[in-house]
Amino acid sequence: MILNSEDSRPIYIQIAVWLETEILSGHFQSNEKVYSQYQVAEMFTINPATAAKGLTLLVEDEILYKRRGLGMFVTNNAKERILRKRKEQTLKKLVVDLVAEAERLGVSEDELMTMIQTVRGGRGE
């Protein structure tokens, strides 16, 4: 993955989100060691301090835990935490924006629901 320079979020947040996705996709299991700040810095050509900030963010959210001298590891219920966080924050914000745009365009609730169902249905095929 290459960082998106159009993305206005600070790099350390983009790093945290990327690592969350890696965990969700099963690339890292519970209690498995993740990349060090230097490995992340190399992968994305970013300052190691920025990489460390991204990892620390995940420690604060209890998705990673530190073992002194050994590195950072995935917590037991990291996946559930990430899913909950994404639903409560990311998805909720998307829905707020979606509803606001629908109101601006005068799209009714039924119409909006149909649009959502169509997208979901189309995916299921």
């Binding site: 790099i11 190399e42 050509t45 970013i46 300052n47 920025t50």
Partner: protein
């Protein structure tokens, strides 16, 4: 521990004040971007830190001493720029051998490997190099010297996009493997911002703003909406930049809005967007709030 300390530093040339009460502190093993408009005083500052120029007044301290006439600073620092003086009677390979003799941590093998990667022939002379190749050669010396204080003043002038990209990556790899204090001045902030931890904005010979890159990315926000709505909303707020686009106004303000103020924005149907580090830098160092457009707005002034 700070490696560099400057206090009320001034330096003037016959008529111009290049540095005018400059103060700053830079921590060890950080990579800091030194940015500023043309003539802001960046090069003067860097040359004083490297010990090339002497200040007129104020205090400057590098590794605990004044860098001017200091052998200690000279052996532990290197300044790379376009007009580095290198012997014209030596071949590139011979220059590397000499640099290897002078700098205690110089990695000779790395220097030769980089030379061959960038297709520079060790048997040629600096006078035979194009502008971009010369910049590349200087940067190779700068990276290989592994000096505790490494200063790059516009190192990428003339380099093509591919070489610049490779150079940034080489710098990062070197920085990770052998941490050192790096000062990097460039007009391409958008190209180097990911590499940097901190940014120091030099403006009119002073330290205008010194902050981390993450802080810089969230320092300001842009608000856009209809003219009337916007003028009401802006009110007394400090405006960093403003521009009219058709019937709407685009205004950049400091990002210190409360949750209530953000709710107001939503209700007024004003759109909020982020301001990139490069754009913020330009807004902060512009002479007027309207930028170049103000020059062409003669009719308004009557």
């Amino acid at each position: 521990m700070p490696v560099i300390k400057c206090k009320d530093l001034t330096k003037h040339y016959s008529r111009k004040r290049a540095l005018d009460g400059f103060s700053c502190m830079i921590e060890e093993n950080k990579m800091t971007g030194i940015i500023g408009r043309n003539g802001a005083g960046k090069t003067t500052l860097l040359k004083i830190l490297a010990g090339f120029f002497q200040e007129n007044s104020g205090d400057v301290n590098v590794f605990g001493e004044n860098p001017f006439n200091s052998l200690n600073v000279s052996a532990n620092s290197i300044m790379i720029d376009q007009d580095m003086t290198l012997p014209t009677i030596l071949k590139l390979g011979e220059i590397i051998e000499e640099a290897n003799r002078f700098y205690p941590n110089f990695d000779r093998e790395l220097a030769f490997r980089l030379l061959s990667y960038f297709s520079l022939d060790e048997k040629t002379y600096v006078t035979e190099l194009s502008k971009g190749m010369r910049s590349t050669f200087h940067s190779i010396i700068g990276l290989s010297a592994r000096c505790a204080l490494t200063i790059f003043d516009e190192p990428t002038l003339g380099m093509d996009a591919g070489v610049r990209k490779d150079f940034y990556r080489a710098l990062l790899k070197e920085f990770i493997a052998y941490p050192r204090t790096v000062l990097f001045s460039s007009h391409h902030l958008e190209e180097i911002e990911d590499l940097l931890e901190d940014v120091l904005i030099v403006h009119k010979g002073r330290n205008h703003l010194h902050l981390s890159l993450d802080e810089m990315k969230t320092y300001a926000i842009a608000v856009q909406g209809s003219k009337s709505m916007m003028s009401e909303w802006v009110g007394e707020k400090e405006v960093l930049f403003t521009k009219e686009i058709g019937g709407s106004t685009y205004t950049v303000v400091k990002n210190n809005l409360s949750a209530d103020e953000r709710e107001v924005l939503r209700m007024l149907d004003l759109t909020v967007s982020a301001v990139s580090a490069t754009d913020l830098f330009v807004y902060l160092t512009n002479e007027s709030k309207g930028g170049i457009d103000d020059v062409f707005r003669r009719d308004d002034k009557g």
